[in-house]
């Protein structure tokens, strides 16, 4: 479980996050949604420690990371996996080497065991056939799947995904969403997904946090999001034709 308490972040005079507090639970796919510029990525970066919040704290299973020493923070990071917007695979390495990378860096297992684990992770995301390919030979969806395999290689307790569906077609987005959701429930990990893809919201949103102009405007899940009375959330949601039609149909 990850708890965010009264997070505030400014860049110069601009307040990007204002007093954000929420809880992201284990075994659930937690989505952070909002328009571009709402502060989603900054919040995610504050949670993973790539940015330091000006105020507030982030608790990983009760451990306050904002007071962590450098060594403790490094140890915590080995419990994290992250899927970046553009996959961020190491382009000097093959797909298999990418998945092997965290194992080679931090695992005490033998080479054979590491290889077995890496191949297991690749098989889990249905990418075993592409293990010898380099990242530039892969499609966007395959890159994302390989990045998920790398993220789960060390068996993380926390998985973070920044815009996992950006640049993907709806069908591939669905595959990635299902994969993230299945991995979350299968390994009972805390997953936080940063997205503005409505298909993801309706498909895997076990817990949804809506941000607007750096403020937390609404929290809920995929089952009650369409019934929300929050104006900003409704403006955001029903800018999608698909959801507007779904709501109209439901009302009829």
């Amino acid at each position: 479980m990850i708890e965010v308490k009264n997070i505030q972040k400014r860049f110069g005079e601009q307040v990007v996050l204002e007093d954000i507090s929420t809880i992201f639970e284990n075994g659930k796919t937690n989505l952070i949604i909002g328009q571009s510029g709402a502060g989603k990525t900054v919040l995610l970066k504050c949670i993973v420690g790539l940015l330091v919040p000006d105020k507030g704290s982030v608790l990983y299973d009760g451990r306050n990371v904002t007071t962590f020493e450098k060594k403790e923070r490094l140890m915590l990071r080995r419990e994290m996996g992250m899927l970046f917007q553009n996959a961020a695979l190491f382009d000097s390495m093959s797909v298999l080497e990418n998945v092997m990378f965290p194992l080679e860096m931090f695992s005490n297992k033998t080479y054979k065991e590491k290889l077995k684990r890496a191949r297991f992770c690749l098989e889990r995301v249905n990418m075993l056939q592409a293990e010898d390919k380099s990242p530039e030979e892969l499609s966007g969806g395959m890159q994302k799947r390989a990045a998920i395999a790398r993220a789960i290689a060390l068996g993380p307790r926390y998985l973070f995904c920044d815009e996992p569906n950006s640049g993907l077609d709806p069908k591939t987005s669905l595959i990635i969403d299902e994969l993230i959701h299945d991995i979350t429930t299968e390994y009972n990990i805390t997953t936080i997904v940063n997205t503005h893809d409505m298909n993801s919201v309706m498909g895997i949103g076990d817990h949804i946090t809506f941000l607007a102009n750096g403020k937390l405007e609404w929290q809920g899940n995929k089952d009650n999001i369409l019934d929300s009375s929050n104006k900003q959330l409704n403006d955001f949601l029903f800018s999608s034709d698909l959801l507007r039609k779904v709501k109209e149909k439901n009302q009829k």
């Binding site: 915590l76 994290m80 970046f84 961020a88 190491f90 860096m105 931090f106 060390l154």
Partner: protein, 249 residues
Amino acid sequence: MMFVNSISTFGQYLSLMHKVFARPESIKMFFKQFMREIYQLGINSIPIVLIISFFIGAVICIQMKLNIENAWMPRFVAGYATREILILEFSSSIMCLILSGKVGSNITSEIGTMRVTQQIDAMEIMGVNSANFLIFPKITALITMIPILVIFSIAAGIAGAYAIGMFTGIMTPDDLTVGLQYEFSQWYVWCSIIKSLFFAFIISSVAAFYGYRVEGGSIEVGKASTDSVVSCSVLILFADIVLTQLLMQ
């Protein structure tokens, strides 16, 4: 303001070097990276070093012969001057200036691209000391390879001088050999190697620093590459003065 910026940049450079010079998290991965950098930064630079040194050696020989030739001068003096120029300055300082363009821009653009495509963030999230993992092997590999490149450069320059002597007939190989061997001091070769070690550190660390702190996109990566080559060149020239003064006194 410019002074404050320079101090701030130097502070950032020292802070990065503090991260770089740490114990590698995985010795096996360090050696893997080290061997990759030996190939990419060192072995891949051998052809350009040989070609440039060969032609510059030939040109120096012609220039010395044409400009120093005098009835009062011994015939071997062109060979002697060629050797001294090659060993003392060309094969260490000028070759490193050239390498700062090739190797320096390569390092900056590689690390800069990794930065803007979030590959460095991915390493940091995993808990990897990305500065140590990416930059330390580059510094050690270039420092390891630079003496070899200097020796190759001296040898290719001398080969160029012989070639021009034989093919144009401006100088006999015997005169050149006498000049090359005349009052040879082994210390000068060591000076050249010692200087090149410092230059290798400047090239690899400064270029990596510029790449590591890139923010933005491809335009910023290109700008950082240019800035790193300019900074490396200026620092090499400045270090050359200091080192020459210290070593040759």
